[in-house]
């Protein structure tokens, strides 16, 4: 079984035989090899072996590839893609803003309530009221009728008025 074909020619001829088996090359290359029967047999053996390997390995790869998932990762919603620290920061900001709004609202309510309540009377207002009462008292005293004077009722009226004035004064104090 002496081989007359060196490895270079073997490789080249093998490729031609593979092409030939696919119907690409013509009969010319095959005719050139008819004289070397040993090499011819070896070439055919090699060609068949490679073809078997090629077909069976592709068959396996096709079966296996069909069961493989898509290389692209499954799409997620935008908020799921965001990192956890970003979600935490957003939640914290929402809490801070909510607390600030609540505090502000409470302050506004207090201001409104304060505006509705009557202001406490000042010292000046009280003195003006006293002056007013005094002037009224004086006017009433000056307008006592002669009958009341004769009956001595003016002093009783004065006492009543003074008592009322003290009561008002104590109440305001």
């Amino acid at each position: 079984m002496a081989n007359v074909m060196d490895d270079d020619n073997f490789e080249r001829t093998l490729m031609e035989r593979l092409d030939e088996s696919r119907g690409v090359a013509g009969e010319e290359e095959a005719c050139n090899l008819l004289g070397a029967e040993n090499d011819d047999a070896e070439l055919f053996a090699m060609r068949d072996a490679l073809r078997s390997y090629r077909e069976q390995s592709l068959d396996w790869a096709q079966q296996r590839s069909a069961a493989m998932p898509s290389p692209l990762p499954a799409r997620q919603s935008g908020w799921l893609v965001a990192p956890q620290w970003a979600l935490g920061t957003a939640a914290f900001c929402a809490c801070v803003v909510g607390a600030a709004l609540f505090t502000h609202h409470q302050a506004v309510l207090v201001q409104q309530a304060a505006a509705v309540l009557p202001a406490a009377p000042t010292q000046q207002a009280l003195s003006e009221d006293n002056e007013l009462l005094s002037s009224v008292d004086l006017a009433l005293r000056s307008s006592v009728s002669p009958t009341e004077q004769e009956l001595g009722l003016s002093q009783v009226l004065d006492a009543n008025r003074a008592q009322k004035r003290r009561a008002v004064q104590q109440h305001t104090d």
């Binding site: 093998l14 593979l18 070896e42 090699m46 077909e55 790869a61």
Partner: protein
């Protein structure tokens, strides 16, 4: 020179359309499902023959398709999509080959029985007919012969005789001159020839 090379590749690609090898347009790159359907089986076969580890092969193939999809705008069309994808896969295999995990498994593989899915498929596929048994035996012989090659020889031999790529395409995918490709191919063919001859 570049246009001649492109012309050669395009001519070769056009020639392979009639042989059942699908060469599609660039628009295929825009659809990941189409890309995976058309090119994943061949990529898986090629990568499995290189790494001999099922999990790693699946990972490399998925990464290759994902990388190609994300970088599809960078594909200039100066080679076929198949060549481009093969080049990406080779780079990813080289990246994995530098990791400690890969070195560990390669050491373990050297002394272990080959039990990859593809190996099991080659043993068990087909009917019980005698011809099928011969074909299975032949496929197993080639599988074993390829395993004994160096990484470069294995890649080049697989691209040339299994993936049926031209020398120029292999040169582009491997990133080495055609003369170097020829040297590796010569040694690989000699080694596989001896192995197949011994099994005959």
């Amino acid at each position: 020179m570049a246009s001649k090379l492109t012309g050669d590749l395009m001519g070769h690609a056009a020639g392979r359309i009639g042989q059942g090898i699908e060469e599609r347009t660039l628009s295929d790159l825009d659809d990941m499902d189409t890309l995976a359907r058309l090119y994943r089986p061949r990529l898986l076969r090629f990568v499995s023959a290189q790494v001999r580890d099922d999990d790693l092969a699946f990972t490399v193939v998925q990464d290759t398709l994902l990388k190609a999809y994300r970088n599809r705008t960078g594909f200039r069309g100066d080679c076929s999509i198949n060549t481009w994808l093969t080049g990406i896969a080779l780079n990813l295999i080289r990246d994995h080959a530098r990791t400690q995990k890969f070195k560990f498994w390669r050491t373990a593989e050297a002394s272990a029985v080959d039990s990859t899915e593809m190996q099991n498929h080659l043993r068990s596929s087909g009917s019980n007919a005698e011809q099928s048994m011969i074909a299975k035996q032949q496929a197993l012989t080639v599988h074993g012969a390829i395993k004994n090659l160096s990484p470069n020889q294995r890649a080049i031999f697989t691209m040339r005789f299994i993936e049926e790529m031209e020398l120029q395409e292999i040169s582009l995918a491997m990133g080495m001159p055609v003369s170097t490709v020829k040297t590796h191919l010569h040694r690989a063919t000699k080694s596989v020839r001896e192995r197949v001859r011994g099994a005959a």
